[in-house]
Symmetry: C2
Subunit: 412 residues, 2 copies
């Protein structure tokens, strides 16, 4: 069954690669309209998922992510229009050379082919990911969590019908309706059909995909982000940035999870930072030296420094040098986003050069690591790996390149 | 033991990422000189490998790949100088924007970090790969085949000492001296230390790495390349190009393995192509329709169409349309290099657009898919996958990007 989806997707991808931008956009507008037109149908199916979720004891947070209402569906539909309005990332001539033997060599951008997306209980991903894949000329196989299966089936069917009205193959968008663990594992082994697999969700999901997949994976979204308060930091700026990066939205991957602080500024800075974090009752887990300054904190273990809390908790590590800060961060971070707060330009330069993360900030909040904030338009995720795409990944990350070579009989 | 190599490599990578181009080049010149100065030492160790190889019954082809003499060592040393003379791929500002909130966002190129190379019995790869990794600021862990272990140890030690004379960490270059299958498998699981793994060698090696590795892999070098003779082809050009692509060097990955031919030109073209291939006694394995035209051929099976011969053998498949040719090729190719021979510009455009391979030619030999021929300088391999790098992969393929964000207190 899964293999049939693979065959269908390959076929659809072969058609999509040669389709004009206008036709892809027409399909995206049709999808947007269809989602709004069928909102009540989607909501009815979503209610089934919500009822099942409540029975299964899903947390309020998960139920909220699962829930669709008219406003949210309108938001998803608007997202499809926004994707239609972005530049087509395919067909760009990236390089062109004429070799001494007369061969003209063009490096052009083109679709990757067939992309698999494995995700959890957020039905909006079904539409968001499909829209981005369609715009970039890729066929997509979606495999969402069982919690959202009824919503996902409704959304996918509406999108498939809309795609057909624009004259494109329905199989540009396919949903795996078998939500067993086996179907997920089988998808990870479909190297003959899938060109790329993108997991979106928890650290556990991402780990499972990385360990089991023979399809090339793009890891996204795991964020144990650090803010380093250097000895020459502006203390008030440090407190404002840390407060923002920790508390503006605690569940997101670019939230700050750990403060690294220079011992020479510890006594001056930590009480100011703590006072600010107290406004939202953030729990501070600190090492011994920091606790000596702010005793009204919990004791941090090594495990704390490796933890992405996703909650109103933050760890504090005291260091005696910039080098120690860099080593500590490179050891514990997930390679997502880190910041230095300093008035020393040279220290900022060294930090930004040596920190091994997708996005490195000087005097700004880590919360800006986001496709929209970076001006990339919509994003499929934030890559925390180094191959292919790193950091916020927009439409360009869903393309590959190929060489076209024009000759008139050249041989070697 | 392997983990220690990983720790050393991470440490070296942390230093290399902040090193100036001049110092990396100094190390490359030092390596080049040291390889020539110690040529006899390398040859003595290589003789041990050759003697062991003969005892183990290695083929003449393998023994030739394994063999080093003064001339070949000079060639390897010259290669290091050529790499020194290439542009540094790191530190380039790829994009720069200033956002409405005043954040300056730079996307820059930087080293990947730690790269693993798994290869077979070619000791030249030890030096070639290390030089490319060093120039691109990456630490490398080399794991060559047991057949070349004595040569590899000699070359690696000479390179490590030379790197140190330039003030860089020796551990920029490390060799796995345990050549058991277990060490190879363990390397594939070293996700905490390796950022990327590049297998170079046989299809079997590449398959094993793809199936077992949890480290992101860049697949290279498997090439079942096709040349399609369209109905409007210039028959003499087709014969010359096929002859060149098949016979100029049969063992390479960009050699042609299969002819796809339009039925309307079959009778006219195949005898001309066969006459040319007969000059080098190429065995032709053809389908029934082609055999009806040229009976002095062998019968092809479906397996033939999926085979990279690497030998004086070529298959022939007859098709009735451009679409059938494209479908046949996309089904059987390894995504390396394919060509169309045609005088019909529109057919060429459709073929180049829809063929899903790294390099697609119009009226030229597939043999040009090569870093040197494409003007990229040295290459680490030819990627047949779609993520990160596709086609001939030079220094740029050994870099990643990161975002540097400069603020003055911005919060979200």
């Amino acid at each position: 069954m899964l293999e049939q989806l693979g065959i269908n997707a390959k076929k659809a991808a072969g058609i999509l690669t040669a389709v004009h931008t206008e036709q892809k956009n027409e399909a995206l507008y049709a999808i947007s309209k269809a989602l709004v037109d069928h909102a009540y149908e989607i909501i009815a199916k979503n209610n089934i998922d919500l009822a099942n979720g409540k029975k299964a004891g899903l947390s309020d947070g998960l139920l909220d992510r699962l829930m669709l209402n008219e406003e949210r569906i309108k938001g998803i539909a608007d997202g499809c229009v926004q994707v239609a309005e972005l530049d087509d990332p395919c067909g760009k001539i990236i390089e062109e050379t004429i070799r001494p033997n007369g061969l003209k060599i063009q490096k052009i951008s083109c679709p990757i082919g067939v992309i698999g997306i494995i995700y959890e209980a957020r039905p909006n991903v079904t539409a968001d990911a499909a829209a981005l894949c369609l715009k970039s000329g890729n066929a997509v196989i979606l495999r969402g969590g069982k919690e959202a299966i009824e919503s996902n089936k409704a959304i996918a069917n509406i999108m498939r019908d809309a795609v057909a009205t624009a004259g494109l193959p329905k199989d540009a968008i396919q949903l795996v309706t078998d939500t067993s663990r086996e179907s997920s594992t089988a998808l990870m082994k479909m190297k003959d059909y899938l060109d790329c697999l993108i997991p979106r969700g928890s650290a556990g999901l991402i780990k499972a995909v990385v360990e089991n997949s023979t399809v090339p994976v793009i890891e996204t979204g795991s964020g144990n982000c650090h803010i380093y308060v250097d000895k020459s930091a502006d203390v008030d700026m440090a407190a404002e940035i840390i407060f923002n990066a920790k508390t503006q939205r605690v569940s997101v991957c670019n939230a700050c999870e750990s403060i690294v602080i220079h011992s020479e500024i510890l006594e001056k800075a930590l009480p100011v930072i703590k006072e600010k974090l107290d406004e939202k009752a953030v729990i501070i887990r600190a090492d011994e030296r920091a606790r000596a300054v702010c005793p009204d904190t919990e004791s941090a273990t090594e495990l704390d420094f490796a933890t992405e809390y996703g909650d109103y908790i933050i760890s504090v590590k005291t260091v005696d040098s910039l080098d120690e800060a860099i080593d500590h961060i490179n050891k514990n971070s997930t390679g997502h986003s880190e910041a230095i707060i300093t008035n020393d330009e040279n220290n900022a330069r060294v930090f930004m050069n040596r920190i091994d993360s997708s996005s490195v900030y000087h005097n700004a909040s880590t919360r800006f690591t986001d496709g929209g904030e970076f001006g990339l338009g919509a994003e499929i995720g934030i890559s925390t790996q180094k191959l292919h795409a790193r950091g916020p990944m927009g439409l360009e990350g869903l393309t590959t390149t190929k060489y076209l070579i024009f000759g008139n009989g050249q041989v070697r």
